[in-house]
Amino acid sequence: MTVLSIRGLKVYFSTEDGIVKAVNGVDLDIGENETLGLIGETGCGKTVLGLSILRLLSENTVVEGEILYRGMDLLKLSEEEMRKIRGKEIAMIFQNALTSMNPVLTVGTQVSEPFELHHGLRRRDALMKAIEMLKLVRISSPSERVKEYPHEFSGGMRQRAMIAMGLACEPSLIIADEPTTGLDVTIQAQVVELMKELTMRSRTSMLLITHDLGVAAELCDNIAVMYPGEIVEYANTVEIFKNPKHPYTQGFLDSLPGRGLKPMEGMSPSLINLPEGCKFHPRCPFALERCKREHPRMVEIGNNHQVRCFLYD
């Protein structure tokens, strides 16, 4: 049973420098209780993809395709219907909790807000729920801490409070955008552990957006590798790490410290000026003549492993 199913998603927005093609025809499925990792370099459109699901992009953005949440196309809902999905059915955990939390409202106010909004609780009852949530994410003396402001929390605590905010109404799907970026490595491990435990417990599906392969390996069932605007490889986590097929995925994995720390040649292309043919061909060590002209399709190579490369087509 799929919770979220994305079909042919395109997200474009115009800037002074030209049209940014952030997402160019993405298909993805996330099943019940599944954690799907969306990995890729900075600027490959993965955050835009995450935001487009909850329709949080600015009004001048063009979004095409289908985003089906339990069979319902989110792109066709009214703004008011969409508000009932946000925070209740699908929640989002943002990176950088310092800027993502309101500096002038107490943590308690911010964590209790979803309860007031979606469960119609009174302020005091919602605050009790918020205290429970903070306890769940292991913030010590939560009944004191709810009265504090985000700047009085440490980085790890803020991120855990963000998680509490996201999980408040027990959503079916969580979109976590780089939830561990900017945290100390030891704190990162704690946060990852916590997310794993909480999503397991509440049987929540998750779309984890990250460039950190370690975090992805720890949390994800399946992984989709994104290269400017499209998915280039999809498989389960073990398969991706053991048997990467796409030259980009191979390069990405080889650049890991544990795997030789080999830097990848070249730069990721700008989303304004994408190359013709296969978008990876200018950096690809195996590029064929055909790669410059034709755009490869996603090919199934068995074991539910798909790759977008002419080497396998």
Binding site: F94, T99, S100, N102, P103, L105, Y149, M165
Partner: protein, 310 residues
């Protein structure tokens, strides 16, 4: 917090000392011999050398300047601001008599400009690039640029002379208050409105507003609960700074509208080279500045929990 306020009040001492030095030096920085100038005014003619000497002796102007200053300061600390040379009444009494009229005008124009600027700024930001936004920005642009004395004259011409709806000048009921309050408040109103708009627009682009949207809050709740308090922080600073502008504006507006306040009294005294009155005014202004800054600083702690004074 109490300790902070106490500390700030203690700081008043050196500030007021500096301001009083400055205000006392007006007597000597102004061109001409003060005794001669004052006598000229009193006698309506050129005084003789003997008269000047006698005047200097009488007012202690022969002593070294630091001694004169110390004596002056001693008298001020005892509530004696001297006698106005023009009206021959105590300066303090003259100010206290005129202060209520100025306060009424100040409060009216400040309330009016804030009450118009804040909602208009919010609407402009929420519906930015709409017609109402363009219109209010255009009007605000004019409001910032127009000098208040000219605006005052135009208001008199239009509402008092041409339409005859409101009195042109003088002190009386509420109707008398409207035109001077408008003339005084327009430029502050326009700049507060523009800042409110810019500040709210900036806040609406912050990450935490996106978080609030992701929770499923409606636009109204996002603006009222999440954005407004953040956006008001710079606006409060500017409202505080504008108090100074407003006081200098009052000097002009009170003169144009014949408003019997402190500002007009100052202008009359400057014309008459009434030094004790001018010195008193400088001290008064310094005091108002220090207190309005203190109030702004304290109000920050209510708006922004990150600001705490120890």
């Amino acid at each position: 917090m109490k300790r902070y306020i106490a500390k700030r009040l203690l700081l008043l001492i050196p500030i007021m000392l500096g301001a009083s030095m400055l205000s006392y030096s007006i007597l000597y920085l102004a061109p001409g011999d003060p005794a001669e100038l004052m006598l000229e005014r009193q006698l309506q003619g050129v005084p003789t050398q003997e008269q000047i000497e006698a005047f200097k002796e009488e007012h202690g102007l022969n002593a070294p300047i630091p001694i004169q200053f110390a004596n002056w300061l001693y008298r001020i600390l005892h509530g004696d601001f001297g006698i106005s040379l023009r009206t021959e009444k105590p300066v303090l009494t003259e100010y206290l008599n005129r202060f209520p009229a100025s306060l009424v005008l100040f409060l009216m124009s400040q309330t009016l400009s804030i009450a118009i600027a804040i909602p208009l700024g919010i609407i402009s930001a929420v519906k930015h690039n709409s017609e109402i936004d363009h219109l209010s920005r255009f009007v605000a642009m004019i409001g910032v640029s127009v000098p208040n004395f000219w605006l005052g004259l135009l208001l008199i011409l239009f509402f008092a002379v041409y339409l005859g709806w409101l009195p042109a000048f003088g002190y009386g009921g509420f109707a008398h208050l409207i035109l001077p309050a408008l003339a005084l408040g327009v430029s502050g109103c326009a700049s507060i409105m523009r800042l409110m708009r810019a500040s709210l627009l900036d806040v609406l682009n912050q990450d935490y507003i996106r978080t609030a949207r992701a929770k499923g809050l409606c636009e109204r709740a996002i603006i009222v609960k999440h954005a407004l308090k953040n956006a008001l922080i710079p606006v409060v600073t500017v409202i505080g700074l504008h108090i100074g502008h407003l006081i200098s504006g009052m000097v002009i507006i009170e003169t144009i509208f014949a408003w019997p306040g402190v500002g007009r009294f100052l202008v009359e005294s400057i014309h008459a080279r009434d030094f004790p009155v001018i010195q008193g005014f400088v001290l008064l202004i310094a005091m108002i500045f220090v207190f309005s800054n203190l109030i702004v600083d304290i109000s920050y702690t209510y708006l922004d929990p990150r600001i705490r004074y120890e």
